[in-house]
């Protein structure tokens, strides 16, 4: 089992607040890796450091054995990490199809000259972008919505569209920030099926989630953050019984 992503001693401080302290974790290829913890534990900060939104103060990442240069968000996407956002960030006035087509940007080349002259290679590339985008909309289960504007999609479909857009960048690691937030039980169940399918098709997933049932049923490994520190890591069943985790979630024993 080789690690797809290794985080080594990641530290991030906002003024006096130590948001992340010495986070070291390793995500195995083909796993769904859950990152859980109470509100404010540093999960999203970790995401933002990993995807280039914040610069880490300390530590480094290895993606696929190579050092990941977290200099900008687009460099991280090009390296093979695609993310979704806790508060959905779609291109709202573009159609579902166009949203996914934008995701193909980083894996395609056509420039200004190609676009103006409509060269054969540009036309072929455009066709491939279209086909891939259609395929991905179908893959996440919203094929019928291709011409609907992103902001008029139902909430659950917006979440799916965000996943489709991220998948369009052909990521090695798909990083999902609370994909089930605000979903009802049915939507969560279909989301679970989708994530399992993505894993089966070979994409590793890093998942931040509050829905403990979803995390426990879906993840191969789980890490628990609390006050910016990793307090537990392991298979879900073991983490669930961990004393530190129980304390973090439920509070300490009354002395």
């Amino acid at each position: 089992m080789t690690a797809l992503l290794e985080a080594k001693n990641i530290g991030k401080r906002f003024g006096g607040l130590e948001a992340l302290t010495d986070i070291t974790l390793s995500i195995a290829r083909g796993d769904i890796y859950g990152l859980i913890g109470p509100n404010g534990a540093g999960k999203t900060t970790f995401f933002n450091v990993l995807t280039g939104f914040y610069a880490a103060d300390r530590g480094s990442f290895l993606l696929d054995g190579a050092p990941l240069s977290v200099t900008s968000t687009h460099a991280v996407a090009a390296a093979g990490i695609a993310r979704t956002f806790q508060n959905i960030r779609l291109f709202e006035n573009m159609t579902a199809l166009e949203n996914v087509m934008v995701g193909r940007h980083v894996r395609t080349q056509a420039g200004v000259v190609g676009a103006i002259l409509r060269t054969r290679s540009t036309r072929n590339e455009e066709r491939a972008i279209h086909e891939r985008a259609h395929y991905l909309l179908d893959y996440v289960g919203i094929a019928g919505r291709q011409h609907t504007l992103a902001h008029s999609l139902p909430y659950g479909d917006q979440r799916r569209l965000e996943i489709a857009r991220a998948l369009a960048t052909a990521p090695k690691l798909l990083a999902l920030d609370e994909p089930a937030a605000g979903m009802n039980a049915t939507e969560t169940a279909t989301l679970k099926l989708l994530l399992e399918r993505i894993r089966a098709d070979g994409t590793t997933i890093l998942l931040i989630e509050h829905d403990v049932k979803l995390v426990m049923g879906l993840c191969d490994r789980v890490a628990v953050l609390d006050y910016g520190r990793k307090i537990a890591e392991g298979v879900p069943a073991a983490v669930q019984r961990d004393a530190a985790v129980i304390e973090a979630y439920l509070g300490g024993a009354i002395a």
């Binding site: 695609a82 956002f85 857009r165």
Partner: protein, 358 residues
């Protein structure tokens, strides 16, 4: 034409082509019709097309990429001065226009990047202020680069600029062909029409391309666009550079048509005028932008010729100068627009959605 109307037309190729042919014939005959009213109107038409070119260039920056640029006229000026310096007695250089226009586009493009690089992190109002300053700086340079070495000839401007020439064929001389007299302005009109057509094609193709989608994405949500792997800095610079080079080409043609340029032609009000054309017509929609440019070019001229006679007819003497009426109506028109058609006369569908539903 709405896109629904357009797709209905697409199902009737005969009707579509008949329509295209009709418009083409009308455009070909137009300068003669205008010349019958007065040669001045052909010149006004030419200036209107130049402004349409400018508006389409600015539309890339403002309409597609969503970057508010209040100094766009600077690129027009850079193109015009490039042409003037390379085809006038100023330095006694007389290069042919088909060499200078690409040079002018490149120089303007360079200035576009020059403006783009330091403003990459700015948005909205802040970007507007910096671009406004940039436009003024460029104009002040034109005004003052007459010493210690005289480059731009300062406020006097550069005169006796070469017209477009192709072998023995000069664009500023009248010629009779098949019983029809083609005056200088009429010849320029046809040339401008060709350039406009090319610029329209370029705009349409850019909009519907990988780059066009990237522009739209950064306009919608720059953060998400970055996370999807779009190099936002690169894509923004591309918008500035593309928009600027259109401005540069238009400026070169302007210099050749006028034969004289001075810093006066590249003042802030002109930038605002071009931006108004884009906004009035409908940001992001090529046809709307062209309509906006034609309207704002023609209406003032029509007023110039009607306000005085009308007042004399009604009151026996003239109270208000056309220029005053012009600004008054202009302000009124913009206010009415903001109230009733905030997305423009002929808005792009996307912009309309942004402005009405959010």
């Amino acid at each position: 034409m709405t896109s629904a109307g357009f797709s209905r037309l697409k199902e009737h190729p005969v009707a579509l082509w008949a329509g295209v042919a009709l418009i083409a014939v009308a455009l070909l005959v137009l300068p003669f019709a205008l010349a019958a009213v007065g040669t001045a109107w052909v010149r006004i038409m030419n200036l209107a097309i130049l402004f349409a070119l400018l508006s389409l260039g600015l539309n890339i920056v403002v309409g597609y990429a969503g970057l508010l640029d209040l100094g766009y006229i600077a690129f027009y000026g850079v193109g015009a001065y490039t042409y003037a310096l390379l085809a006038s007695p100023q330095f006694n250089i007389h290069l042919p226009f088909w060499i200078i226009l690409p040079i002018g586009a490149l120089v303007a493009c360079f200035f576009g990047v020059l403006l783009g690089v330091p403003t990459l992190k700015l948005r909205g109002d802040y970007l507007a202020i910096v671009t406004l300053g940039f436009g003024e700086i460029v104009r002040i340079f034109f005004n003052n680069l007459s010493q210690p070495v005289n480059i731009t000839n300062g406020p006097q401007g550069i005169s006796r600029i070469d017209p477009f020439r192709l072998g023995g064929f000069s664009f500023n001389q009248s010629e009779t062909f098949a019983g029809l007299t083609f005056s200088g302005p009429v010849k320029y009109y046809y040339l401008l029409l060709l350039v406009l057509l090319a610029v329209i094609v370029i705009n349409v193709r850019l909009q519907d391309s990988r780059i066009g989608r990237a522009w739209q994405a950064i306009r919608e949500d720059e953060v998400a666009a970055g996370a999807m792997g779009i190099n936002t800095a690169h894509v923004k610079l591309l918008a500035f550079a593309m928009g600027a080079s259109f401005g540069g080409v238009a400026g070169g043609i302007f210099a050749a048509i006028q034969g004289f340029i001075s810093p006066e032609s590249f003042v802030l009000v002109e930038s605002i005028m071009v931006l108004s054309m884009v906004v009035l017509g409908g940001m992001g929609n090529i046809w709307g932008v062209i309509v906006g440019a034609l309207l704002l070019s023609f209406v003032p001229e029509i007023l110039r010729y009607t306000v005085d006679p009308l007042q004399r007819l009604l009151f026996g003497k003239s109270f208000v100068e056309p220029e005053v009426i012009r600004m008054l109506l202009f302000g009124l028109a913009l206010m009415l627009m903001m109230l009733f058609r905030p997305a423009g006369l002929w808005p792009s569908k996307v912009r309309q959605r942004e402005l009405t539903e959010s």
